[in-house]
């Protein structure tokens, strides 16, 4: 019974996502239909965008562009759709590598900060500060360092720089979320484990980690979305070919000839984000049992024993 409920909620959420996408399409077409081709200007300043076919192609045209040949009159008939999907797949794998690496580093940092109080004060400001450095400025630097690097006899590959930058964006939400989660057990529970003479590692495994799950899931979702954005931006600023980042630039340059095509890799990038966050939702479902209803006795609880609270069962005396 309770196992089905969350799943129904997931289906409902997916349905709402679909409704939102359709709604966006309807808005797009309505705006295009109702507003003048030249947009709305006050004096010489354009305040609402133009709606002519070059600026706002019809939804049908954007969808149609996926089926166009990528290079007109080319020998092999590769479509825009297949180019976008293979580029998105390539970038998604870079983002996944970045996500995994970033999450591991983020989680390790959180464990360190939980273990050593002073580490929290020493490291947390840096973790937060790290996100204020513009990614665009950082990417070529990482690329430059990597180019001179040999690790375990392996030459540094350009894609590794992209994954590293993606990881750089992904680790902070994991660190913040995991630390809050690891610190979430109340004193009564940590003292109990101390009374059992549990080691630090046992306390992490049996208490802190399970208690951290409800904090980790949203943190990982945020990290997954950040990893995708990080990978795309890093591809663009390091000039790595093969991914969706490069495709966005390439198609943007073809905008005058084929305005609808510009939107194809953007849609591809959006789908990447949905796939990335969606895969964390699967993890979420797998870890459902750690996210039950919070214990009602967090506050001194008398409701249960007088037959109050909705989730509490009335007292049953011993037969």
């Amino acid at each position: 019974m309770s196992a089905l409920l969350p799943r129904a909620a997931q289906v409902k959420r997916a349905a709402w996502l679909l409704v939102a996408i359709l709604g966006l399409c309807v808005l797009w077409e309505l705006y295009k239909l109702l507003m003048p081709d030249d947009g709305v200007s006050i004096g010489d300043t354009l305040v609402l965008p133009r709606t002519d076919d070059a600026s706002m192609p019809h939804i049908s045209e954007i969808i149609g562009t996926f089926d166009d040949p990528e290079v007109a009159g080319a020998a092999q008939a590769s479509t825009v759709g297949s180019a976008v999907s293979s580029a998105a797949w390539y970038s998604l794998r870079l983002a996944a590598a970045g996500f995994l690496f970033g999450s591991l580093v983020g989680f390790a940092l959180a464990l360190l900060m939980q273990r050593v109080r002073i580490a929290e004060r020493a490291l947390m400001p840096w973790a937060v500060l790290s996100q204020t450095v513009p990614l665009i400025a950082l990417a070529p630097l990482v690329y430059g360092w990597g180019a001179n690097l040999t690790l375990f006899g392996l030459d540094w590959q350009p894609w590794m720089s992209v994954s590293i930058i993606s990881a750089y964006l992904a680790f902070v939400p994991v660190t913040v979320g995991a630390l809050r989660g690891l610190q979430s057990p109340p004193a009564v529970q940590t003292e109990l484990l101390a009374c059992y003479a549990a080691s630090w590692w046992q306390t992490v495994l049996r208490l802190r980690l399970p208690a951290a799950v409800p904090y980790l899931i949203p943190a990982l979702k945020l990290a997954a979305a950040s990893a995708v954005i990080g990978a795309i931006v890093a591809e663009i600023s390091t000039g790595l070919a093969g991914g969706i980042g490069r495709l966005i630039i390439t198609y943007a340059q073809q905008a005058t000839g084929d305005p609808a095509r510009v939107y194809a890799p953007i849609i591809g990038a959006a789908v990447m984000g949905i796939v990335a966050v969606g895969s964390i939702t699967l993890l979420d479902i797998g870890l459902r049992r750690f996210q039950g209803i919070p214990e009602p006795s967090a506050e001194p609880d008398i409701a249960g024993s007088v037959g109050g609270g909705p989730v509490l069962r009335p007292w049953r005396s011993r037969a």
Partner: protein, 257 residues
Amino acid sequence: MSDAITIAGVSKRFGSGATAVHALESVDLVVGPGEFVSLIGPSGCGKSTLLRIIADLIPPTQGTVVVADKPVGTARLDQEYGIAFQQAGLLEWRSVRANIELPLQLHGVGRAERRARAMELLELVGLEEFADHHPSQLSGGMQQRVAIARALAPRPALLLMDEPFGALDEMTRERMQAELIRICAETSAAVVFVTHSIPEAVFLSRRVVVMSPRPGRITATVEVPDVVRNEDFREDERFYAAVTEVREALRGRLAAA
């Protein structure tokens, strides 16, 4: 059999200098094997602090505490005591049975033995049919019984209880007291029970230790007659006499202060 607890000259100060708080001042107390002793006193008299020192959760500033002939640190590592707090503190992602198994699991007891012990204890506290329920599905009183079962899991000869029924309503509380008397009879564990309810202390204990605050010290010890503890005892003259004696010990201290 040696004493369950021997406390000698224990003092505890929190902080230092002018802002230091004297939580405990030269406390001496011996708890015999299987003896039920209550610590009672107003808030801030150091009764919980004393319990936490016995549990080796905090060190005393001065003095020594011996549990089962061992220094408290060793006693804690050897699981010589079980403990229950005012909040049940059950792990909400674990079933009731897995919660009771937790201390055994941490000490490497095998799965089959753990399970058998947990079922035995669930029967003892009357919750067999709730083995696979989760804590959030239980009432406050039931959660507290699970916490007591968990404290008893490693078969300790000593049970430390810090206002375990403090958050329960009066009726549930009296039922839990009767349960505790029965459980203690079956396990023959010594108990140190912190409370601020006079009737509760008298009903449960052979000895009620009265404490006073600032600095926390033992001001009186009231012996309760060794009679069968059942519902009749609550209306017995000897019960009222002991309640009066404890109340006067508490009040006498207030008048003097």
